[in-house]
């Protein structure tokens, strides 16, 4: 019998704000333990939360980017449960009136396009981090109160591949919006997975298993690759799935049932009396909408039509907003989009990969790359020289025109000088000259090479070739 999986995701996104969601502590979860804390985020007696407006804006911006409805009335609630990493033993979250509702994200797996529905987006506070010593645990509250946006999908995802594609597409959108750094290593993006399987033909969904807290997309992928067959196996052997929370063990490559924290989950949500409802005026939402960036899918289409790029190339370029921005700046400044795309897709991405760095940290600017492209187009330098210069520009930066001048790298296009080199080469290499005249065409390349050598690489190769053909007769 065939089994059909149903997958839904809950993604926690750490928002890129300067300060925490409810206090003025820096939103920098790293650092020495308990150094970015204050009475508010430590849950001290008498303290009160105070909403960071930027966290509201970034959440609404995300909603607008993925086509959500912005809830005309939204509020905060207390979610009650005890845990050592939670300072107040309730988490300020949003229960029945989240900031955003509905929406979808388009994904493409093996050429098949599909929209994954979004149920809601709400805002909440992050908890601290615990660390385990021998017989005790330690808690660091630097992360407590970091603004966390939770995106909940509809159970529209059907394969581990789709789950991964969704996460990649979502990450791209969040990066485009500048909403989060989406740094997986730093836990900026964490994911809970809900999944179930059901026999084909059964319309009712199977029993749901929750897999907690994965912080890599690969982890989500592998956990599903393991968990779905596990569930199928249980059903196939006549067993039943028990609703439970499991944890993905990356090293062992298996999911394991978690030891339950309490025998009943009863979060006793109720409206947060310390915070006022959020009733955003439509003008404010429209103002924010006007600041939305062009999203990757749209940009890809535009790059194809505006710059005449192949669809594949456009896709590579838009994958990273910074790269796409860099390409467009270079294309405009150089007036040669094709060359700009070639340079960015090959040399720029290769260097970034080799150096394990990002464009914002590289010395290379779009202005200098455009300069380099123009120098080639104007035949001031040839392509091999340009490649050499590129490495230097990438490493140290600088003005390519200046570099060409100070290093004397300009191509020799002066016919007089080239003629002298050609005459010398003809005189010194009677054998190849005879071969060429006898119809052996490759001999010409040898002679071209000799002239390039004499010019120390600066001769314009096409001019040299034309010159030799003219001098030796025949074409």
């Amino acid at each position: 019998m065939k089994y059909l999986p149903t997958i839904g995701l809950e993604i926690h996104v750490q928002l890129k704000t300067r300060s925490k969601i409810f206090c003025g502590c820096p939103n920098e979860p790293g650092g020495e333990p308990n150094t970015h804390v204050c009475p508010v985020c430590l849950g001290y007696p008498g303290t009160l939360p105070n909403v960071n407006g930027e966290a509201i804006r970034l959440t609404v911006l995300t909603g607008l980017m993925i086509g959500c409805r912005i809830n005309p009335y939204s509020k905060f609630d207390r979610k009650n449960y005890f845990y050592p990493d939670m300072p107040k033993n309730y988490q300020i979250s949003q229960y029945d009136k989240p900031l955003c509702l509905g929406g979808s994200v388009e994904i493409e797996v093996e050429g098949r396009k599909k929209a994954v529905g979004i149920t809601r987006i709400h805002l909440e506070e992050d908890v601290g981090k615990s660390m385990h010593f021998g017989s005790s645990s330690g808690v660091d509250f630097n992360r407590a109160g970091a603004p966390l946006m939770e995106i909940v999908t509809e159970p529209d995802i059907e394969t581990p591949e789709e789950a991964q594609a969704f996460l990649l597409a979502l990450r791209q959108i969040l990066l485009y919006g500048g909403v989060s750094d989406c740094n997986l290593e730093q836990g900026n993006l964490r994911c809970d997975v809900n999944c179930s399987v059901r026999p084909e033909g059964q319309s009712e969904l199977g029993t749901k298993i929750e897999i907690k807290n994965m912080n890599t997309f690969k982890g989500v992928f592998h956990a599903l690759k393991h968990e779905l067959p596990r569930q199928e196996e249980v059903l196939r052997s006549g067993g039943a799935i028990r609703q439970e929370t499991r944890r993905w063990d990356d090293e062992k490559g298996v999911t394991e049932a978690m030891r339950s924290k309490e025998y009943a989950h009863d979060y006793r949500y109720f409206p947060e009396p310390d915070l006022m409802p959020v009733v955003l005026p439509p003008e404010t939402v429209e103002q924010w909408r006007a600041t939305l960036p062009e999203l990757p899918a749209k940009r890809r289409d535009r790059l194809v039509t505006e710059y005449g790029l192949p669809d594949y190339d456009a896709g590579v370029l838009v994958a990273d907003k910074a790269v796409a921005d860099f390409f467009e700046e270079t294309a405009r400044a150089s007036g040669n989009p094709k060359a700009a795309s070639n340079w960015v897709m090959t040399d720029v991405l290769r260097c970034l990969g080799e150096k394990q760095t990002e464009l914002k940290d590289a010395k290379l600017t779009s202005v200098s790359l455009a300069g380099l492209i123009r120098l080639v187009d104007q035949k001031v330098i040839n392509v091999p020289t340009a490649r050499e210069l590129f490495s230097e520009l990438f490493e140290k930066g600088g003005d390519p025109t200046e570099l060409v001048k100070t290093k004397g790298l300009a191509q020799v296009s002066d016919t007089g000088a080239l003629e002298a080199y050609a005459d010398e080469a003809i005189a010194e290499n009677p054998g190849p000259v005879a071969d060429y005249r006898a119809g052996k065409k490759p001999a010409l390349q040898f002679l071209v090479g000799q002239i390039m050598k004499k010019s120390r690489g600066k001769a314009n190769p096409r001019m040299v070739q034309e010159l030799l053909q003219r001098k030796l007769g025949g074409a």
């Binding site: 704000t17 300067r18 300060s19 206090c23 003025g24 502590c25 820096p26 020495e32 333990p33 308990n34 150094t35 970015h36 804390v37 204050c38 009475p39 985020c41 430590l42 105070n50 909403v51 960071n52 407006g53 930027e54 966290a55 509201i56 509020k75 005890f82 050592p84 033993n89 615990s130 660390m131 385990h132 010593f133 017989s135 005790s136 645990s137 330690g138 808690v139 660091d140 509250f141 944890r247 978690m258 030891r259 924290k261 309490e262 009943a264 009863d266 006793r268 409206p271 009396p273 915070l275 006022m276 409802p277 959020v278 009733v279 955003l280």
Partner: protein
């Protein structure tokens, strides 16, 4: 419609609710609290006599909306001050009995 009272006051299981609230009760306390709280709940159930159909709930005494803070970093507690009240501390962290996941 769950907006009605259940008849059965003894549905209050003092021990279970105390556990939700992370409160160990002695047998004596449980025995004292059970009838006291049932009595209070019995009194509270008089609210059931009122017709509240269509009445909006009040969560805040005074209606205000959209109270936000600017996204600015402000000084908090230095590390020493943050740990000063800690019942147990080690390596700059608040120590608790081992957390089991």
């Amino acid at each position: 419609m769950t907006d009605t009272f259940r008849d059965d006051a003894s549905r209050l299981d003092v021990r279970y609710v105390a556990h939700l609230a992370r409160l160990h009760l002695s047998d004596e306390e449980a025995a004292v609290f059970q009838p006291q709280l049932e009595q209070v709940l019995g009194y509270v159930r008089e609210l059931g006599a009122l017709d509240v159909e269509g009445v909006e709930p009040t969560a805040h005494a005074f209606p205000v909306q959209n109270v936000f803070r600017d996204d600015e970093v402000r000084p908090g507690l230095d590390h020493e001050a943050a740990m000063k009240n800690a019942p147990q501390e080690r390596q700059g962290q608040f120590i608790v009995p081992k957390i089991i996941e």
